[in-house]
């Protein structure tokens, strides 16, 4: 399952269309919900899984609404081409796997998957010009961290719910900004956001 999450993350890193990327990240979140459900049947796990499911649903709805409300004549060009993005992501993931010692999670595969998702998220956020893709980069990073949290020995449901709520809130605020940037500049393109310099 961990490697399926990595595959979905890598695909989200290289695809051109934002709707496709939203679909991939949503499937990734649903896989994480499945993993959370399979983790155990205690009350804490059930609440954490429910929080994750609610977060996935909320984010997918939010992104789809944003795409519908901010239709673009053509996709915003990425700063870096798909092959180079993929290469950068894989290289950073390998470097992190090499640099970071054992995280203490249940499986080494899960640890590698966490690091890979972290790397892909960082590369998406730093190489894509489209505002929506930058938010997806943050969500990819958070999905990696959710995977790590699922493999922790004990987790308070309160913190799990809090993390899910916080991230949804941040995505919601990012959505507000995306719409206002689109209205101001005619595209959700961060290339237009370069006036503040010293």
């Amino acid at each position: 399952m961990a490697w399926a999450l990595v595959g979905l993350g890598l695909a989200a890193l290289v695809v051109r269309r934002r709707s496709l990327a939203v679909g991939l990240v949503t499937v990734q979140s649903i896989v994480l919900v499945g993993l959370a459900v399979g983790e155990g049947d205690g009350a804490d796990q059930r609440i954490a899984a429910a929080a994750l499911a609610a977060r996935s649903l909320a984010l997918a709805t939010l992104f789809l609404v944003l795409i519908a409300r901010t239709r673009e004549a053509r996709p915003v060009r990425a700063g870096v081409g798909p092959l180079r993005r993929g290469g950068l992501g894989v290289a950073l993931a390998l470097a992190l796997t090499w640099l970071v010692p054992s995280l203490g999670l249940a499986s080494r595969d899960a640890e590698r998957a966490v690091l890979a998702l972290l790397a892909f998220g960082l590369v998406v956020a730093s190489t894509r010009r489209a505002t929506l893709f930058q938010v997806l980069g943050v969500v990819l990073v958070e999905n990696g961290l959710v995977l790590a949290a699922l493999h922790l020995p004990a987790t308070s449901w309160l913190v799990e719910v809090g993390v899910a709520f916080d991230l949804t809130l941040v995505a919601l605020v990012a959505g507000v900004f995306h719409e206002r940037i689109f209205a101001e500049f005619g595209a959700g393109d961060t290339e237009a956001l370069r006036s503040l310099r010293d």
Binding site: G144, P153, L158, S195
Partner: protein
């Protein structure tokens, strides 16, 4: 739960309730209710801070709420800065670009979000565990980003977007560090990471160091420490001025406290001196990066923003030195910086009313054309530059002495040199801003013919209060290094 912890919870609830109430009140009552709520919350915060600071030897540490000397200090700072920011907001709203801003739905939204931000900020210093602290810091991002982009102008949207994405990514990295710590604490979990438990981390010093690096690097993005400070000058300069005051004087040190608590918890597990060295590195780089910008002619708010970078660097450096002298310097610096920076940002509304060009250009000769405003600018910038006898001069001296005391003479000497360069840059800016030639406005305006500037009367009162507080702080700096407070700051909440 102890009385002090209950008081802390009441303090957090107060602004949250007022913020909620503002959504329901009739429109004309919103501003008066916000101002009243600010005075109540500010008074509560000072009370909580006083109880923690008068008995610093007995920190109250629970799983979810903790109140120690450092937490008390920050609660006081956040409370007072928040109160002043709310009190200064009606003048800002009255002069904001949108003529309806002072009376419409935007006013209600502004105050409600500002109160939410304030409540979250007050909760950060009293958070009893790392997981909760992370959640609160992340939540401040959502609230404050909305406030940064409040004006809706293109530049504000740009600043808000940068702030949101960069700090969210940074906090993602920090959350990775939190997860790593949770994996290494016996019987741990994200909700079990009370500050005292961090020192029981058992997965080895190497992993502890990685976790700590991730935590500090991630939080540094939110604190605005170089080299991950890119959002800071933009957000500070484009946010509404009262919000900039909260960002600079309250948010940055509150998040720095979280990094400080991580250092105190994990340092015993990591190789001796390594945890402190990381903070010293961030502190020194931040001051070094700020120096060239402080030597340039900058618009007032951007100058204050780069000064935040310098001052967060000084505080981080002092925490890294971790000696009694440095700790005394840290305490004085946090308070003195908050007073001077709040004053500086509160001066923005009347300053822009007097000289609209100051939004994009350096202020020059303000004392010649508007003496009251000139006095405020001089007090703020004089304090921030560390001009003797400003308390920040004393605190920088204490931090540098603390560097020598900790056995790091080269770091202390480098910091002294950098601070001297920053001082020169800021003093030059101070002279230009107050006494420089003001092109086209060289004559002193006749006060009777000068249009009344929004917020100037309040600013004059604030300047007088700030002067008194700075004098008291300067006096306190004499006995502080040998006080129980400094020992409590060194010991931490654990």
């Amino acid at each position: 739960m102890t009385d002090r912890q209950t008081m802390a919870l009441v303090l957090i609830a107060a602004p949250a309730l007022v913020g909620g109430l503002l959504w329901c009140l009739p429109r004309r009552w919103v501003a008066p209710a916000a101002v009243t709520g600010a005075v109540i919350t500010g008074t509560l915060a000072v009370t909580v801070a006083a109880t923690a600071l008068t008995d610093p030897g007995h920190p109250q540490a629970g799983t979810w709420v903790a109140l120690d000397a450092a937490g008390g200090l920050l609660v006081g700072v956040v409370g007072v800065v928040g109160m002043v920011s709310v009190l200064a907001s009606p003048a800002y709203l009255a002069t904001a670009g949108d003529p309806a801003a002072g009376h419409g739905r935007r006013q209600r939204t502004y105050f409600a979000v500002l109160y939410a931000f304030w409540a979250l900020l007050l909760a950060v210093p009293v958070a009893g565990n790392l997981g909760a602290a992370w959640l609160l810091v992340e939540a401040t991002t959502a609230a404050s980003a909305l406030l940064v982009g409040f004006s809706g102008k293109a530049r504000a949207l740009e600043a808000g977007w940068k702030y949101l994405i960069l700090t969210s990514l940074g906090l993602g990295i920090a959350l990775f560090g939190v997860a790593l710590v949770a994996a290494g604490v016996p019987g741990g979990g994200l909700g079990m990471l009370s500050w005292g438990v961090l020192s029981t981390y058992g997965a080895g010093p190497q992993t502890a160091l990685v976790a700590y690096l991730l935590l500090v690097a991630g939080l540094a993005a939110k604190i605005g420490l170089a080299p991950v400070h890119n959002w800071l000058p933009d957000a500070h300069s484009e946010a509404p001025a009262p919000v900039s005051a909260m960002l600079s004087a309250a948010l940055l040190p509150a998040v720095l406290l979280v990094a400080w608590r991580c250092e105190q918890g994990l340092a015993p597990v990591i190789r001796p001196g390594a945890a402190q060295a990381v903070l010293i590195g961030f502190g020194l780089v931040s001051i070094a990066v700020a120096v060239p910008f402080l030597s340039r002619p900058l618009a007032w708010k951007r100058l204050l923003a780069y000064s935040s970078l310098e001052h967060m660097g000084v505080i981080t450096l002092g925490i890294g030195f971790a000696t009694p002298l440095a700790m005394a310097g840290v305490a004085i610096h946090i308070v003195g910086h908050a007073i001077a920076k709040t004053l500086g940002f509160c001066a923005v509304t009347p300053l822009l009313a007097h000289e609209p060009g100051a939004a994009g250009h350096p202020v020059t000769g303000i004392a010649r054309t508007q003496p009251a405003l000139g006095a405020t600018v001089a007090l703020s910038l004089g304090t921030l530059s560390g001009l003797p006898p400003s308390p920040l001069f004393v605190s920088e001296l204490l931090v540098i002495s603390g560097g020598f005391q900790s056995g790091r003479p080269w770091v202390a000497a480098t910091a002294a040199l950098l601070l001297a360069l920053a001082f020169i840059g800021l003093v030059r800016a101070l002279l230009e801003a107050t006494l420089g030639e003001s092109a086209g406005r060289a004559r002193r305006l006749d006060p009777r013919g000068t249009p009344r500037l929004a917020g100037l009367r309040g600013l004059t009162v604030l300047t007088a209060a700030a002067l008194v507080l700075l004098l008291i702080l300067g006096g306190a700096s004499v006995w502080l290094p040998a006080s129980d407070l400094v020992q409590a700051l060194l010991k931490g909440v654990g």
